[in-house]
């Protein structure tokens, strides 16, 4: 009995030792900073010789009254609501296309995937050229059709939408790979069974393909949603949040508050809000994925 207990203990010790490297990395770079951030958000920002003091929910109250926070939050929400479905629809469309028997489909797949390989900053610079008001590609095309120049990134009405286009362009190719994998998992017999019933292409998509790639769609949607709330590099590279905060997103605002305004406690409070948003998205993912969306 005694010996048995010892070996059992040994196994636990061994197990924890094996997990230790991962635990240390995860804890020191993810969990501890997250917890510290939450704690910091209840304190004031230390400035010079003024130490930080506990101020409770003051930061959060300030946040509720902060118009730029609301601007960033709403921008981000709109960003997610637009980019996620459009990127998914495009990705699925492209996957369906390159899954078919067409000539040069490997080249086409590669072409669709290329934006994913590019670093965001490089992609942002390419699009900066597209959007430039005088000699930019988009305006050249528009002018050829007789329309007036549009200052894509300089106009508050178009800045956010221009950023969305870049995100969609960059993400759709990546998500296409997931959909392509999902489509290739569907047994061809199912399509033949549908052909035997003379089901039209749209019916086949709606009744067979769409439900069968649903788990992938959900997975992609959650990831796209998380990405939408994490976008910062292209805002920095393309608009700097402007004009007049028209393209400010949450993470970019946090970055500004923390490293331009050096208000670290307020940034911590903002980060906590972002953490809550992402946390609830992740929770939704686990909840939905475990439920009936998985038909197997």
């Amino acid at each position: 009995m005694q010996a048995k207990r010892t070996t059992k203990l040994n196994i636990h010790v061994q197990g924890w030792l094996l997990a230790l490297p991962a635990v240390i990395l995860l804890a020191s770079f993810t969990h501890i900073p997250a917890v510290v951030t939450v704690i910091d958000s209840f304190y004031s920002t230390p400035r010079g010789r003024v130490p930080s003091v506990f101020i409770g929910l003051d930061q959060y109250q300030a946040m509720l009254a902060d118009p730029i926070f609301w601007r960033a939050f709403n921008n981000n929400l709109l960003y997610a609501v637009v980019t996620v479905p459009v990127a998914i629809a495009l990705a699925l469309g492209m996957a369906l296309w390159v899954n078919g028997r067409i000539k040069g489909r490997t080249a086409l797949r590669l072409a669709f995937f290329t934006p994913t390989i590019l670093p965001m900053v490089a992609a942002a610079n390419i699009w900066l050229f597209f959007y430039t008001s005088d000699y930019g590609l988009l305006n050249q095309i528009i002018r050829a059709f007789g329309f007036a120049n549009v200052n894509w990134l300089g106009d508050p009405a178009t800045a956010l939408w221009s950023l969305m286009a870049v995100t969609i362009w960059k993400e759709a190719g990546f998500f296409m790979i997931f959909f392509l994998a999902a489509l290739q998992q569907v047994p061809p017999d199912l399509y033949e069974a549908a052909r035997m019933e003379n089901a039209g292409r749209f019916t086949v998509f709606r009744r067979i393909t769409w439900p069968l790639v649903m788990p992938t769609t959900l997975f992609v949607a959650i990831n796209a949603l998380i990405n939408a709330f994490r976008i910062v590099d292209q805002v920095i590279a393309m608009t700097g949040g402007g004009p007049n905060n028209a393209s400010t997103l949450l993470l970019f605002y946090i970055y500004q508050v923390a490293f331009s305004f050096w208000d670290s406690a307020y940034a911590a409070a903002l980060s906590t809000v972002l953490l809550l948003v992402l946390g609830s998205v992740a929770l939704a993912q686990f909840y939905l994925l475990d439920r009936k969306i998985h038909y197997r």
Binding site: D189, A194, R195, E197, N198, R207, L212, R296
Partner: protein, 374 residues
């Protein structure tokens, strides 16, 4: 009335001829089996009847109409796939009614037909389950239900039982045959299993290398195989083949002192004998041949006895209890009408000795002679 007519149909995949000028007809309300080893073109033929593949040349008629350019339900055929091809995300009920709902059948009619098919196949308790919650046999029934609910005049089955265990296969074999006869549908059934073909078919179309080797009733194929391939393929235990040679009084078995079997040359001819047609007796009894037992495969009710005949071997079937010991000397005999003679070069059946029910007098005599010799 002809339900399915296949007229010199060929299918080429690039250079390869998967199906090569195949023609046959299936009577309405009968079950035809396309039989053959893998790669013989039987599944391709079925897919062309279904309309999933278009023939390279030739035509297919269903219920008297040329159906080229039509697929599946619009040409009046339904199909059961080897893998069942059930939609994993739909319930059993939705799987069965899929075709009806695609065609916009009204809900009440759909429900009525679903009830009928479910009752027919005993699927009532399973209707709300998903395919993954069913056993292989149940999935097979659902696939069958999906094909039958359309009430198409022709039902195609592509190796429907190959994924099931032996016991279940036998049960479903009976069930499918009974259903087919009860509903009066025409079935075209693809299999590589000759037992399945023999037990179910009204007509067997035996294929090899994209061509039809023989087309006839199961009894035709068993009793009068048109060639060595058919003879080898049909029948439980394999037929034994013995080369013949010219002898003094007619054809004799090469390398043995057998009595002449029939008048005429024996060289270039092959004698085929089914194990079940060969009687094994003690060596001192009369018989056509003497041989040594080299192997006994005991199967309970019966035993398969391998006998050495010179450098050739011959397989005979005996009652399990009466199987001789290995090494024993035995005499072998068979009724002349049980002997199949083929041309060695072409493999074609030869009708030298009549295999009719009444053996020719000469053969009688020879048989008798053989007995005296022994």
């Amino acid at each position: 009335m002809k339900s399915v007519v296949v007229r010199s149909v060929s299918k080429l995949w690039g250079e390869a001829r998967a199906v090569d000028d195949v023609s046959f007809e299936v009577e309405q309300g009968t079950l035809a089996v396309l039989l053959g080893p893998s790669g013989c073109g039987k599944s391709t033929t079925l897919r062309m009847i279904a309309g999933l593949d278009e023939p390279t040349s030739g035509s297919i008629e269903i219920a008297g109409k040329d159906v080229s350019g039509l697929t599946g339900s619009s040409r009046g055929v339904a199909m059961v796939f080897q893998s069942y091809a059930l939609f994993p995300h739909l319930t059993v009920a939705d799987n069965i009614t899929f075709g009806l709902s695609v065609r916009g059948t009204p809900k009440p009619e759909m429900a009525a037909r679903l009830d009928k098919v479910a009752a027919l196949l005993g699927l009532e308790p399973l209707l709300r389950r998903k395919p993954s919650q069913l056993s292989g046999g149940q999935q097979q029934r659902v696939a069958l239900g999906r094909a039958l609910i359309a009430e198409a005049p022709v039902c195609l089955l592509d190796e429907p039982l190959s994924n099931l265990d032996a016991q279940l296969r036998q049960e479903l074999r009976h069930e499918i045959r009974a259903l087919q006869q009860r509903l009066g549908v025409t079935m075209v059934y693809v299999t590589h299993d000759q037992t399945e073909a023999m037990s179910m078919a009204d007509r067997i179309i035996l294929m090899r290398g994209g061509k039809i080797e023989q087309n006839g009733t199961p009894a035709d194929l068993y009793e009068r195989p048109a060639n060595i391939f058919t003879a080898r393929f049909i029948g439980g235990a394999p037929m034994s083949f013995l080369d013949l040679d010219d002898g003094a009084g007619g054809a004799v078995i090469a390398g043995t002192s057998s009595p002449p079997l029939f008048a005429g040359p024996g060289k270039g001819r092959v004698l085929g004998l089914r194990p079940e047609d060969i009687a094994v007796d003690d060596a001192h009894k009369s018989g056509l041949l003497h041989a040594t037992v080299t192997g006994v495969e005991y199967l309970g009710a019966e035993a398969l006895v391998t006998c050495a005949l010179g450098d050739r071997s011959i397989l005979a079937r005996t009652r399990g209890a009466a199987a001789p010991a290995i090494g024993a000397q035995v005499s072998l005999s068979w009724h002349p009408s049980a002997a199949h003679v083929f041309d060695a070069a072409s493999g074609k059946r030869l009708t030298i000795d009549s295999h009719a029910a009444t053996p020719t007098p000469r053969l009688h005599t020879l048989h008798y002679q053989g007995s005296i010799n022994a």
